[in-house]
Symmetry: C2
Subunit: 362 residues, 2 copies
């Protein structure tokens, strides 16, 4: 079996033991004589899986009974519209931290439904930074929620900690650093994440909403189609869910908890990112694109000082078994995505290659 | 490898050769060293798959260039809201054929957006029939579209042919008989289907919209979040799609075309359904629940005259390797779902069991 070192930004690498388990039981799950994809979502096999995945999610995130969890579809992008549809009335007000391409889409959808303030906006500097740790923001007293993108995959920035909004509940698009570190859940009203970076394949989106947030913010004067109403999804299945992606999220969460949960992931991510950024910062042969204080430990974009050589670098890297390093067109150059499932060995292989490339082409 | 005869209503049986191919390449697709789930949806592997699946869909359905196709999420239920959001303005009018649980949900969502007429309604008789073949309906001249559920999984009814709406374009929820027979696409404005009955695993929904229908019905005076706008999805990927479900739909469509396409499926379905209904009608030991003229060739619900014995029948069937026969709670009794991937051998095994059960317990 051939496996590359995989730095894809998403969909991205999955834990190998999980993939092997999926492969093994693909035609016959738990000896019942059918694939997980061929059986009822309300039956004896998937029912317990659906319970287990929510339990594991609660355990991994540290959510108590005041939280409800659900599995929806459409990715984070679908939630950009559903969040204001559910929680922002026409005369209501929400704050959005504008830190990149994803917040831009979220803001555009929110403006269709209510008033939007931007307490932070780094669009003028190509989104190369996010608010510094400890930054405080004074929001209008009528602000219903404050939305932020905890990690920005394209530019490679990440909030080091939650922005201080003076008690206004946070709504977080955590798609690209979900379950990579402990978070202070008490400050959140809602956390959502597309699975395809850190917890599974593309095709399912995790939504966690605090009961009190739902109770105090649910818009009552707007007609919302049944399946677009978040309440329909929380802790229940209103219709056939994406069974296979959810089944895989359950296996990835099992792997994550076995590895030591978010604390272990944070330690591992920190070590992987440090190794890579140290290589980038060693001299001026390579350079990072995000401001140092805002650097992400999940996505590490970098350039060659000699930009003309970048296509050659990526080609040689691919030939050396280092896959998915081409940077997003918005930033150019290279990007190494080193999510939870990316092993230290892959980062070491990349650093060795970068070292060798500098030596032989420098 | 243990495999049962699978009569699940959905998610349901998939073609075995497809599952085997998926299993084989699960860790390493096309020798690239990663799973189909671990690579970019815009890369060299999935790009051609995404083109191929749309080509195969056009070929299987017989769609020419006046049609656009897309892959969305949320199942048919999500489309219940998106269809009127996109195509029914507040002063607009749509007709809905009310033939079961699914049309009920579709009607409820449509009423949030515009005026809804019900040219046909079988709710008074527990939805045991649909309009007879050739039935014509005179609709209000301002009707934008006429929505119908071509096959009703719960009660086991199916439109034998499209209702005659005097030229008003049809919008069809074809989830449970998609690609099971040729259809007269010229009469449709939109065809949509959750994949999990006839063309893949749960987690992706196919949407086909005719250009002229889009042009003449697209609502212009309503703010629609980006990803809820159908135009964003047609023939393109606005965001990360459900990669694995789409990859599987592509394989199932390859299998279907190899088998001879929808004409071959229609022939096979007819033979399977005839075998089963003949067994049901043989005497009054079993009985069907839908009116004969409205019977579905996809879902065959049936009862024992001795209803108290049904739990025992289902238990014995399960023990004999006949899975998924428990009927929907709305109808009770048994239901055999015999979608495209269900082989004749499975139906024969069921009929043999029914015969034996009658003989030994009659």
């Amino acid at each position: 079996m051939h496996r590359v070192h995989n730095f894809s930004a998403g969909p991205s690498q999955l834990p190998l033991p999980v993939l092997k388990e999926v492969q093994e039981e693909l035609l016959d799950i738990q000896g019942m004589g059918a694939s997980i994809m061929e059986i009822s979502h309300r039956g004896k096999i998937f029912g317990p899986i659906y319970d287990q995945v929510r339990e594991r999610l609660r355990e991994a995130l540290g959510l108590d009974d005041s939280w409800r969890v659900g599995f929806v579809t459409g990715g984070a992008t679908m939630q950009f519209g559903l969040i204001p549809m559910n929680f922002l009335s026409q005369d209501g007000r929400a704050a959005y931290f504008h830190t990149g391409t994803w917040s831009k889409k979220a803001i555009a959808d929110a403006k269709l439904f209510g008033k939007v303030d931007l307490p932070f906006d780094s669009s003028e500097s190509d989104f190369d930074h996010v608010p510094p740790p400890g930054a405080t923001f004074t929001l209008d007293s009528s602000t219903r929620y404050a939305h932020f993108t905890s990690n920005n995959t394209i530019v490679g920035t990440q909030f080091a900690s939650e922005p201080d909004t003076g008690g206004v509940p946070l709504v977080c698009d955590a798609s690209s650093d979900f379950l990579s570190r402990p978070i202070d859940v008490d400050r959140y009203g809602m956390i959502y994440a597309g699975a395809q970076k850190n917890v599974g394949p593309a095709g399912v989106t995790i939504v966690c909403i605090r009961d009190s947030f739902l109770a105090s913010n649910k818009v009552s004067d707007r007609a919302i189609p049944a399946l677009m109403n978040y309440e329909q999804h929380l802790d229940q299945m209103p219709n056939t869910p994406p069974v296979f992606p959810i089944y895989m999220v359950n296996l990835v969460l099992g792997w994550l908890l076995e590895q030591g949960g978010v604390t272990a992931m944070q330690e591992k991510s920190g070590a992987k990112a440090a190794l890579l950024y140290d290589e980038i910062d060693k001299d001026d042969y390579y350079r990072g694109t995000a401001q140092k204080e805002s650097r992400s430990v999940m996505n590490v974009p970098f350039r060659l000082t000699d930009e003309a050589a970048e296509a050659h670098f990526i080609e040689k890297a691919e030939a050396a078994g280092l896959h998915g390093l081409k940077g997003h067109r918005f930033v150019g150059g290279m990007r190494a995505s080193i999510y939870n499932a990316c092993p230290m060995e892959s980062v070491q292989a990349l650093v060795d290659f970068m070292d060798e490339y500098r030596r032989t082409h420098g």
